[in-house]
Symmetry: C2
Subunit: 383 residues, 2 copies
């Protein structure tokens, strides 16, 4: 940290209460924060093409090392010129290590300090993943930002399990760092970030953070293991406590958070970047995000409605399609509907982050967020 | 016919043997022929957006009156400003009457001279469609070109059934014309075309054509009831015989034909416009059209292949994605793959028609088509 031109450098531009606006410099471009990262797990943001992501203002997308390791294979992607070339996306990419996916999707046979033995959720094939292998996968993929391999326990795990995960995550981080240094010498410029674990126990979180910082000066921190089933108040309390200990000059990536109220709360508490499948998954299920809350496009009220999803919205779908047409596409099971709603929802969150950034820079974040949330909460009653 | 500026006017620009190059003037623009029409049955070309159709060079798309009548309803589309506005497509549209769909998709309860009583293939609801109702549906939709309601017997129907279908199609055409004239006075500019039936019996085809021409001077003719299961040589023989009787100054729309060799043969015989679900359906099934024949993108040979589907192809997908990436998208079941292959296949046919047009205009159609077909036939042996 310190050198504002180094890859991964985070420059704090404005602070409003704890909320932060910043610039995150990465090898493929600058990310203006707060920022939402669309999720392209398997090297494609579902139903959306790269130029549509650019057009809606996405500055970075996320892909998943675990999924791409299993299919089509990281060495294949390396041979084809890396993930940017493979998926036709020239802006920054962040790869998640797959810690969360290994523990949530695969059938695990054995977890030891050495690594995790598991069976693929795709074809049942047997694999042994170590921190070193994860670094080999992520450097082969060539994303701008790569996450260290962590152990991610379930959201309601007890303290003992969480403490053990922190221990193991730390030992794995040290091995990730060592292997990354060996690999980084020959590969493209990449930024490795540690993942902080510890469940909703603030002591454990502090410990996880403090120990990660003994390894080296990191360009930022991923906060893992939240939004995985624990009560929301405990998530917020943990985030608030942890924020006070995180260094000011590093990016803070809260992993897996993406519902609008959660995003605003996390921004308020001082977190910078986020990812979640919510906008695309909801879009494919026919739920559109609107300023007054989520709406099901199959609603009878939309049958004859000539307005766009959200009047005034600048997204591709709202510029072209009526609610009636989108409803028709979903009723008929037409693919264009999945794309239109995915783009709208991604635009919605990207635009929400732009709004937050602007409010922070002008010192009116609290009032802006309060107004936004009050309007958003209306949906359950009015629709 | 005669007035080159009238809606629906077809201007023959060049002829090479029987093959024709022309301009078809429609209310929303000019279609350069030979032309392939992408099929947007329910008001959307599956997986492809309007601006992508424009970019690949489509000058007209087809939609289906039967499908849109059942869902979302033609009156709804009229209230929302018509089909062009509904589906965000400002170039010409042709609506098929749904004759073929009624006879192939619906559960038919009764066919009389008055009309067809059937049950919806969507929800089993009961409907009675008459030629007059079809005109009401198609004028409500507001396409540039609308097809008369016809009876379409199966491809191997015997002469008696075909003869009866010709009779009924003729009586229905008279009623369509009468109702269209009443409705046309108030609606947008539209061109009504008759459908010629008669199976593969040239006498019946001649009869159907001659009788249709007694109703009025048509701007062109739809040729229905071919490519519906009859032997291909009989299709070609019928098309060849009928072409000699069709007026030179009217457009000739061969309905439902779209596989590359069939398209070239039909162009050679003097037909101008075509439609088929083949490019989009094949695309969604993972088959890519290439100059050396159709290819399954899941082929193991594509696993590591850094080239585009078709080297030199100008389509959106070939400009961005490798075969390896497209294969990955299909193996993983990702939606972007459906879009990419649909666009490629539509571009392929659009480009094939552009090539045919250019060859006709320079008087070298036969040699060009022969070379094209020789290369296309290679695929079965070489892949």
């Amino acid at each position: 940290m310190g050198d504002a031109d180094a890859p991964g450098a985070f420059t704090l531009e404005a602070q409003d209460g704890a909320a932060r606006a910043g610039r995150w410099r990465l090898p493929h471009g600058v990310v203006h924060t707060p920022a939402f990262m669309p999720v392209g797990t398997r090297g494609t943001v579902k139903a959306v093409a790269g130029y549509e992501l650019e057009a809606l203002g996405a500055e970075i997308v996320l892909a998943n090392a675990y999924h791409l390791y299993l299919r089509p294979g990281h060495e294949l992607i390396r041979r084809l010129g890396g993930l940017h070339r493979f998926m036709d996306w020239q802006r920054p990419i962040l790869t998640d290590s797959g810690g969360y996916q290994v523990f949530s999707l695969a059938r695990i046979n054995e977890v030891t300090d050495e690594g995790v033995r598991f069976q693929s959720h795709i074809d049942g094939s047997s694999h042994f993943i170590t921190p070193e292998l994860v670094m080999e996968i992520e450097t082969a993929l060539g994303a701008d930002v790569i996450m260290a391999f962590d152990e991610c326990p379930p959201g309601r795990a007890d303290r003992e399990i969480s403490a053990r995960a922190v221990e193991r995550t730390q030992r794995w981080l040290e091995r990730c760092a060592a292997r990354f240094d060996e690999l980084a010498a020959e590969g493209p410029a990449q930024v490795l970030l540690p993942v902080i674990q510890g469940g909703t126990d603030l002591d454990l979180r502090s410990q996880s953070l403090a120990r990660a910082r003994t390894v080296r000066d990191w360009a930022g921190f991923g906060i893992g293991g939240l939004s995985v089933g624990e009560p929301r108040e405990r998530t917020y309390a943990t985030l608030e406590g942890l924020a006070g200990e995180l260094p000011v000059d590093g990016v803070r990536y809260l992993m897996g958070v993406g519902y609008p109220p959660d995003l605003l709360e996390a921004v308020r508490l001082g977190y910078d970047v986020f990812d979640c499948v919510a906008p695309t998954r909801n879009g494919r299920n026919g739920t559109a995000f609107t300023a007054s809350g989520p709406v099901n496009v199959k609603l009878a009220a939309w049958r004859d409605d000539a307005s766009p999803i959200e009047p005034g919205c600048g997204c591709w779908a709202c510029g072209r399609f009526t609610r009636a047409y989108l409803r028709h596409l979903f009723m008929a099971g037409e693919l264009l509907g999945l794309r239109a709603l995915s783009i709208h929802n991604l635009y919605f969150l990207t635009d929400l982050m732009r709004g937050a950034r602007s409010a922070i820079r002008s010192g009116r974040f609290e009032a802006w967020a309060e107004g936004w949330l009050a309007r958003y909460g209306l949906s359950e009653e009015t629709r």
